[in-house]
Assembly symmetry: D2
């Protein structure tokens, strides 16, 4: 199981949330309490929106906690919107092209979860990717494939319906190959302005997803840093953080959220045909 977070608010150094917050993502990556995946040491990535049109991307197969370069970059780089991800897998190969976020133009994508028995479905799903997008697939994860399916279905025009069609295709394809409840996911997507996040599983038991309702809530992360985050700051996280679980609002099963400029909207999510 992976972990991820997304931030939107005042421009801050990446380290503010990646390293300096209490129970930050890097610390979490070293000490999962989950029995199945004792550590998230199988790669790391951060994608950030900065001064260029295209977001920057730094991905590494080193564990996040021992990457000198990440530490330095997180101190130097300011961003008003970024997504970060730590990976734990026994499935796809450990290589940088399998690390999240995935990027297409201005878009970034992170995923926690999996397509069950993806080895049975992968070829069929790949065929459904728009041939014009096919060459953009550089790795071998189910996550990158899900991103390219969503792009095929119009993610850049209308993200939630495209994600719903992706989910629908995965479920139909699963059933066709005898995998009845194939999808298990939380997803984070951004175009640099909005963040969309989805929590959904075929069996109704998706991994967790939380968001901060208000910048005041984030004060618990680190009183020193919250002032700089600004009143419209919001964070979205895949896992409850430490002893402050109460400050986070849980996104329900089968739901999607949209965050932009401090406003957050939560709507139902279900796969579509």
């Amino acid at each position: 199981m992976c972990r991820w977070m997304a931030y939107s608010g005042n421009p801050v150094p990446l380290e503010t949330l990646l390293f300096n917050a209490q129970h930050n993502l890097i610390d979490q990556s070293m000490s999962s309490r989950s029995a199945e995946t004792p550590t998230n040491g199988d790669g790391f990535g951060v994608g950030w929106y900065g001064p260029r049109q295209q977001p920057g991307l730094f991905r590494s197969i080193r564990p996040a906690w021992n990457d000198f370069n990440l530490r330095d970059l997180a101190a130097q780089i300011d961003s008003r919107l970024f997504l970060a991800h730590v990976r734990a897998t026994s499935l796809a190969t450990i290589q940088e092209t399998n690390c999240h976020p995935f990027r297409h133009g201005r878009w970034l994508f992170v995923h926690n979860g999996e397509i069950l028995e993806v080895e049975k479905l992968r070829r069929e799903l790949l065929l459904a990717v728009d041939p014009a997008l096919f060459g953009g697939i550089q790795g071998t994860t189910d996550s990158e494939l899900m991103f390219h399916l969503a792009l095929t279905f119009g993610l850049q025009d209308d993200p939630l319906p495209a994600l719903a069609r992706m989910a629908g295709l995965v479920e139909r394809t699963g059933r066709a190959y005898g995998v009845n409840e194939p999808l298990w996911m939380t997803i984070g997507v951004s175009d640099g302005e909005s963040i969309w996040a989805v929590r959904y599983a075929s069996d109704g038991d998706a991994p967790t997803l939380y968001y901060s309702r208000d910048a005041k809530d984030l004060v618990e992360l680190n009183p020193d840093i919250v002032r700089v985050l600004g009143e419209h700051a919001r964070a979205i996280v895949s896992e409850p953080i430490g002893r402050f679980a109460e400050i986070w609002s849980e996104v329900p099963q089968g739901a999607a959220m949209h965050a932009k400029g401090g406003a957050i909207e939560v709507v139902p999510f279900s796969p579509s045909g």
Copy 2:
């Protein structure tokens, strides 16, 4: 352009040919004279047949000349048949899963050259891979795809016809997408007993391929080491080696060779339907 070599003969430490021979593959990788590809620093791999059924594989995205572990392993590991490869590319991503040799069961595969405009053909060619083999594709190179196509066409039963069918498919697919002369290659393949090698290009101008006729020829590589190689030792190389070009026999354009136990046979090669 990549470089590769294959060796068959007495069991010797890998370093005997990889590091200790004059004009060895590692030295070559640092000092190509070719204007287009000034260095082969984009990854390295060696596959060797040792005490197990399956060959061993060591691949690294470090340049071969600065990999401590390679140096040590090459000193410790004895093999009677191995294939080694150094990579130079501006195409597929630099990652270990894109480094040669590729392996399937007892089989190893190395390639120099490319499928021209492969980005136009890749999806179509992937569809032709046996679905049962599809999941074995871990990287994004044209080379690994060619290997899986040849496996699809029966490489493990009869290698040269399978390679001919692969070449035929690549050319037909190329023409269908407006790439008239798509294939440019030398290939090395082994099952641990034989080595097969092919030199072919759609336009008749394939990269070079050489072999040693006799163990005595190899004495030029390093007089000290040849005695240990044994009388049946043979080497196959993608490029003439330094000032000893005269000791190598060139495999002609559109030809394949088969080396086993010191015997070498060269036959014509052309793509088939």
Copy 3:
């Protein structure tokens, strides 16, 4: 805190104990239960005695559990005596030259523990290294420094007295700089025939050290593999392994052991002047 193991017995593939045993070192590296060091993902190394005079060495800064090359090498390489180590550190830099084992000629050295406040003592201790050995120090760990001090004091002639003098020097130097109880260690050393191991801490509270009394005990690790290990097989481990703690004999505080050809001797150990 690091973890290490040493094996002596019939030649076996490294994977037999590194990957295939229950509660093997690699699994341990992912799931430490210790609160301070939640995972051992800061590098890995194995040194093995094979067909050459000098042992082989494979060290990597990847976590052991996600290193393809390690997996392959562990399957291909047979050894009758090897030492393996997984690292967890917040101290010295993560780089291959800081990964254990350290090697000097035929000798290998692994360490768990630390010299407390080593930053105060490092320069002084470096000065005590034989200038002829000084150039052999390639990294920045206290462990490599301890090895070179022991070499300076005659490790290759008489290991335990040399380790005692090393420990004595560290303690005297510590006291001179206001670090009263600086040493905290278990150590494993081999020349390819014997294994010596030491458990010692200045404050009497050294990390744990265990050995198998008898090859029959190892049957608990994996019934399938023990037959191949041979009747003289012995393993030495830094940490009790899973639910089989009872099969391991604990080396007491302030003690050293010597294992050779199935015979094990435990003697007191204390620093010397």
Copy 4:
């Protein structure tokens, strides 16, 4: 032999000079014409002054030309003053802590050249480093040692005299150990405001060092980018660049230069006692 460059001028994305200029440092690293060191594939580093007090540092042991992360960072990060370095070595180990630039507080340091027979002198020179600075040495290069000697001699107060004392110490130490002409160097140093550079060798035959007299000269590098560099832009480079050698002013043997805000001063340099 390594290569390096320094830039001072308008804030520009690092890629402007690292990747987009004709004959840029990355291209150079792949195609040295020097017979001894055919390629600079043994690591890369860039240090840049950005929004923080301390400069950022990105160092990698991958060849610069195949590092995804470098490519992305160079596109995202703007800097008004940076130093970059590509390494070629058969001496010190390939590891990130041996990659330039080296950093101490606000200071960055790059070096091309070597201390001859440094293995004889290293221990003695290390002893001359201020014990308070000793712990800052993380790697094993002669370059990092030279930097820490210069820091010991007051680099942060008055750079050129400190570098002269460092050079003097290296030469005296060399002679004491029978190495009569030990020093061979160009050096670049910055505090984020000025760049100092030195060209000196004990035998009067130091590697080359060049600077641009005027922003207009840089137009040759890439007409599109020069406008953004600004009128005070200056570049300092270790090697003449391609066919535009005439636009560069050569720093003479035994000389130092100081560049600040477009003004450049060249003065004699000789080691001091």
